[in-house]
Symmetry: C2
Amino acid sequence: MQVMEPPTEPDVCAKWSETLRVYHDTSAALECELQARHGLGLSEFEVLQALAGQCCGDPGRKVRMKELEAEMYLSQSALSRTVTRLERAGLVTRDECEYDRRANFLMLTPAGRERWETARPTHKAVLIRHLD
Amino acid sequence: MQVMEPPTEPDVCAKWSETLRVYHDTSAALECELQARHGLGLSEFEVLQALAGQCCGDPGRKVRMKELEAEMYLSQSALSRTVTRLERAGLVTRDECEYDRRANFLMLTPAGRERWETARPTHKAVLIRHLD
DNA sequence: AGTCATTTTATGCACGCTCATTTAATGCGT
DNA sequence: ACGCATTAAATGAGCGTGCATAAAATGACT
């Protein structure tokens, strides 16, 4: 019988398959309802949420792509394209950064903030429904 | 102050973002290591695992697509294509069902079983590393 | 037997994602 | 000032996924 590594692996598989279940069910429901009711994909909503700066509450928050990337589970290229979609929809602007012309500052437009605030209750309702 | 629904929503958002983190980190690592060490995508591994009948332990298990679909978080079409890839790789066979010619029975080939058994430790190691 | 809804699987298509590469700007070392 | 690695972001290519549909077989109802 094994003696080492006692706390790990009792049933990691069960834990993983539970995580898979929760993740798939919840994200599918989010994707579906956000799309149907507010015309937003889940990634798009998450970008709006990050830009809304839910935590720090700064309404005129300017964020660089790189910072945003670090906060999200999305590759640099996927993020770039997501922002492009949001920009086309008029929900986000890419402002130039004066000190580093490579970078750009992302900002929510008023329409973007409003869309996010409207979608928020839907998002939260789905979470409550799926995560006890 | 609110009185109703006290147990829900205390911090569903925090729980969800933790789920996102665990899911993305773990599945990326699984995808990466399974691909590098055994030439398998995560979905492919999961199909092999389901066919290996880990739970019921029947080595010559024949499973219909529909049954498999119910056990997995994959659409019918994605599953069909995943099985096609596994079939091309010689890891799975699609046998005809005598009583219902629409259906087909899926079975692991010996190579498929061996591939799964070789990959299993990698899978478990990643889970242990990421899930406590 | 004949029609029609249903079920099982495969396939066309569009979309979002990742990876690799490109373009442009920055900063460091000399 | 001059090269050169580094960094920020955009873009091309390829892949897996889901949705909608197609194709084929089955079952039920008359």
